[in-house]
Amino acid sequence: MIPIALTVNGVRHETEVEPRTLLVDYLRDELGLTGTKIGCDTSVCGSCTIHLDGHAVKSCTVLAVQADSCEVTTIEGLAHGGELHPLQEAFWERHALQCGFCTPGMIMAGVELLDTNGDRLTDAEIRRGLEGNICRCTGYQHIVEAMHEAAVS
């Protein structure tokens, strides 16, 4: 067992984990933060996307021990003081989700894309920027619209 200390959604956790524990399993099984999903086991689908020190990463491809001393934000930590993040609002407003399974990862990836490129994003840039996240329900069109809406709000 390896000791680790990290901050998740503003709360500090000190614990011990098996070396092979994936960050996504630690978040889901140990902390009960099940908003982060596991969709493909192969780092393709992006359902497990979280923020690690401010960057969107796929938490199925990060060992929990690699997150030692890091700041983690999951979908549960995105809204502040009961107020949804503008991208969460936009996903709701624009019907950018259907089954909701890819949504947490899609939003976490989308937030970084917005933070990086702000309101200058074209449709094509949004579509390319979200290539690491798969949605099987929407056909992506409403997701692109939601990204634009959040960019200007």
Partner: protein, 802 residues
């Protein structure tokens, strides 16, 4: 019994209301199967066959049993007392040829991925580790994966019951008349069409958990199911042989199913059986690889098409012989898909006087094939829409014109296509949707642009799909008729309760897999009862808490499920009127619906709101004579017929002359799904469906090698589309209500998938017409297209040099 329909109110029906189910999904609190944690729960991993066809000569579990964290290991022999799973839709007369999976296979496997042993451990990781310690003595057998090979005398026999691996040999239509009409036709087109196997790939994989109470003998089984009531029925009546009261099935939120979550799978039975054996709860959630190898696949038809027409393009005959690959064993409703939902829809939106279809259902050493979004209708639409284009090309008539000449005209509805066993297409105006689509795409201009591009050596193409499909399964007397093989009904249920405070709770036997049913139902309830949407709660997915119902598939949740809710609401309003009349000391006939309750006609201040009426009805202090307390009603709605959405989809493509890459330039869809309750939700359904259908045309395809190994067994190998694969979809609608239900709704969950695939293929073939290419099989990958183009160039070079 039909309800008396009250006067309609305007309001939320037709509004783009934000979904009521979204807050949990955008904040991460929504719970799916893998988020479930039961006290004392053990984890299950399943050992799956690495061979596509083999006998099991022995299984040694000793090393696994000794592994750390292990609870128990079981093999098929431990569950020998449980019969194979039922095949619930034995369409096509398959009852003598049924071979279905068992909880765990005992001595024979017919596809790679069949479960043969189960490890139960304290953690998921420990269970997976121990799988590697189980030693199986396999006797590999000869394998056949190709559906046309499998019916040959020389092919290995998968099951003793099915000679030449044939599950069914089903016919619809008039073979003799069709042959005659083909012989008399001015032109005949013939084509072999491959509708390749797809892996449906919902983002949320399958899973199940179970607990057992030895004191009561009751099981609780959580499962990713689109129809928990059917699961309970099948498990109790056909597997465990216990009363249906002894199993409670709960479907949590499911992250998409697209058909794959309709079926009773071995693992659901296994979890219940393990919970009983161990006396503690167990849970299993499949990996993505398991989802690919062991969950059902879709499509997989090879069709030999012949169509005859007059010189003017009038289609006179259609004949199809289809080999439907059903996999190594039969899934729950597998035989019904290529028969009832395919063969009976083969004439599409056209008046075709003579048609015949033969379907051979075939076992091969591949994963089970069952309904995937559209289920039979995408396959039928592909055949007929390709046929129309082949005829147009043969006669050198515009494909749009050929469609127009053969359309069922608006005054012909209700229209009996003659192959639907008495069902009629309800309503339609096919020309209207086509006209709108042509306007949006700018058809005349496109043909000019195409000519100019061809002159520059560029390959532009346009493709049409003027589809019709069948929704709203189904009238019980039709679907359950003798010989159709469906041993049950297919109505839907809804219970509406207006609580003392005026808050409304709807429970239904239907289920949501992401299509927005809570919202759609809420809109209808809010409108019909004059309550705020936030005062409506819609519940489903738990057999203990909801009336029996048949679930979500075949685009039935609006056309059947929501109509059940609507009728229950009408009866609630009838009772509310009686109670209000008593409260207002007025005659019932003197009251009118105010939009928020009942008021005396001409005296709007003499009124009672629905909340006041509900309160009075719940308290029961002072009710009219012979009136039960409470506003509470359950309605079982059995639709009088099915509904038939239709429309026109148009794809515009450019094929790269150098690489064969297909670029989808534009995609226009004009659908007619009848009345629309929430246009935003319908847009989403259509866009998602189109994307899945385009994906079949261009990218997706399951590939088995000759040993029966699935080569596309992860998302790295199977090409599920990403955001940048698809252009902005131009979605529009016409609205032709059905007259079969008071909401005028038809169903919108599958139109996109059904319509889009042939539109894209037709567009690519149109683009390549200058090279003499008349057909290409899917997926239209750059390599496949490039090879065809090279062949075409070679042919035209040879012929021009002669």
């Amino acid at each position: 019994m039909a309800t008396e329909v009250e006067e309609k109110t305007e309001g939320l029906i037709g509004a783009r209301m934000k979904r009521v189910e979204d807050p949990g999904m955008i904040t991460g609190s929504a719970k799916y199967i893998d988020d479930l944690k039961l006290p004392g729960m053990a984890h299950v991993a399943i050992l799956r066959s690495p061979y596509a066809h083999a006998r099991i000569r022995g299984i040694d579990t000793a090393k696994a049993v000794a592994a750390p964290g292990l609870v128990a290991v079981y093999t098929g022999k431990d569950f020998e007392h449980l019969p194979p799973l039922p095949c619930a839709w034995q369409a096509g007369g398959v009852e003598n040829f049924v071979a279905t999976p068992r909880a765990l296979e005992i001595d024979h496997v017919a596809f790679t991925g069949a479960g043969v042993a189960a490890v139960v451990a304290e953690t998921k990781a420990a269970a997976e580790d121990a799988l590697e310690l189980i030693e199986v003595v396999w006797e590999p057998l000869e394998v056949v994966v190709d559906v046309e090979e499998a019916v040959k005398e020389s092919a290995p026999q998968l099951h003793e019951v099915a000679e030449r691996n044939i599950v069914m040999d089903w016919h619809v239509g008039d073979a003799e008349a069709t042959e005659r009409a083909l012989a008399e036709a001015d032109v005949i087109v013939e084509q072999r069409l491959v509708n390749q196997r797809l892996v449906p790939t919902p983002m949320d994989v399958r899973g199940s958990a179970a607990s057992f109470d030895p004191a009561t003998g009751e099981y609780t089984v959580w499962m990713t199911s689109q129809c928990p009531h059917i699961m309970r029925l099948l498990m109790t009546a056909f597997v465990f042989g216990i009363p249906e009261t002894k199993i409670r099935c709960i479907s949590p939120r499911i992250g998409g199913g697209f058909g794959t979550k309709i079926y009773l799978y071995p693992e659901y039975v296994l979890m219940a059986a393990l919970a009983e054996k161990l006396g503690r709860p167990v849970k299993w959630v499949e990996s993505r690889r398991e989802n690919y190898v062991a969950t059902t696949h879709g499509r997989d038809h090879v069709t030999y098409l012949r169509a005859g027409a007059k010189r003017d393009g009038t289609i006179t005959a259609l004949d199809a012989k289809t080999y439907a690959n059903l996999g190594g064993v039969l899934s729950t409703i597998a035989p019904g898909i290529p028969t009832t939902l395919y063969g009976r829809m083969l004439s599409g939106s056209y008046r075709i006087p003579n048609s015949h279809c033969q379907v051979l259902g075939v076992y091969t050493n591949t994963a089970m094939v069952d309904a995937y979004r559209g289920a039979g209708r995408p396959e039928a639409t592909y055949v007929i829409e390709r046929a129309v284009d082949l005829i147009a090309r043969e006669l050198d008539i515009d494909p749009v014109e050929v469609r127009r000449r053969n359309f069922i005209p608006p005054d012909a509805f209700p229209y009996d296509p003659g192959i639907l066993r008495g069902l009629k297409y309800d309503t339609g105006d096919y020309e209207k949707a086509l006209k709108r689509a042509l306007e949006i795409v700018g058809y005349d201009d496109f043909r000019l642009e195409q000519q100019a591009a061809r002159a520059e050596g560029r390959y532009l193409g346009i493709g049409f799909s003027t589809y019709v499909e069948i929704c709203g399964a189904a009238p019980s007397a039709w679907i359950g008729a003798v010989g159709e093989g469906w041993g049950a009904a297919m109505w839907e249920s809804a219970n509406v309760r207006v609580h003392l405070t005026g808050k409304v709770v709807v429970t239904t036997g239907s289920m949501n897999q992401g299509q927005g049913h809570e919202t759609t139902v809420t809109q209808v309830v809010a409108d019909e009862l004059g309550v705020a949407p936030e005062d409506v709660t819609v519940l489903f997915g738990d057999t203990q808490a909801t009336p029996f119902g048949y679930g979500t598939y075949a685009s039935r949740s609006v056309a059947v499920g929501t109509v059940a809710v609507y009728h229950a609401l009408q009866r609630i309003r009838q009772k509310a009127r009686r109670v209000a009349a008593h409260m207002l000391e007025a005659a019932e006939d003197d009251l009118e619906w105010s939009g928020a309750g009942f008021a005396v006609k001409g005296a709007p201040d003499r009124a009672k709101t629905i909340q006041e009426i509900a309160g009075a009805a719940a308290l029961g202090y002072d009710l009219p004579e012979d009136t039960e307390p409470y506003l509470d009603d359950t309605y079982y709605y059995d639709p009088p017929s099915c509904t038939f959405p239709f429309g026109t989809h148009v794809a515009v493509v450019e094929v790269d002359a150098e690489t064969g890459e297909v670029k989808l330039e534009r995609y226009v869809a004009v659908d007619d799904v009848g009345k629309v309750i929430n246009p935003m939700i319908v847009d989403g359904q259509v866009q998602g469906g189109i994307t899945q259908g385009i994906a079949q045309a261009l990218w997706e395809g399951a590939a088995y090698n000759e040993d029966g190994q699935l080569l596309t067994s992860s998302m790295m190998e199977y090409a599920v589309p990403k955001a940048e694969f698809v252009p902005k979809l131009e979605v529009d609608r016409t609205e032709t209500p059905t007259d079969l239900n008071p909401l005028g709704v038809k169903g919108a969950g599958e139109t996109g998938t059904i319509a889009s695939t042939p539109a894209v293929v037709n567009a690519v073939v149109d683009a390549l017409a200058p090279l003499g290419i008349t057909h290409l099989d899917m997926p239209l990958t750059p390599e496949r297209v490039w090879r065809a183009m090279e062949g075409g160039r070679h042919v035209s070079a040879t012929s021009s040099s002669v």
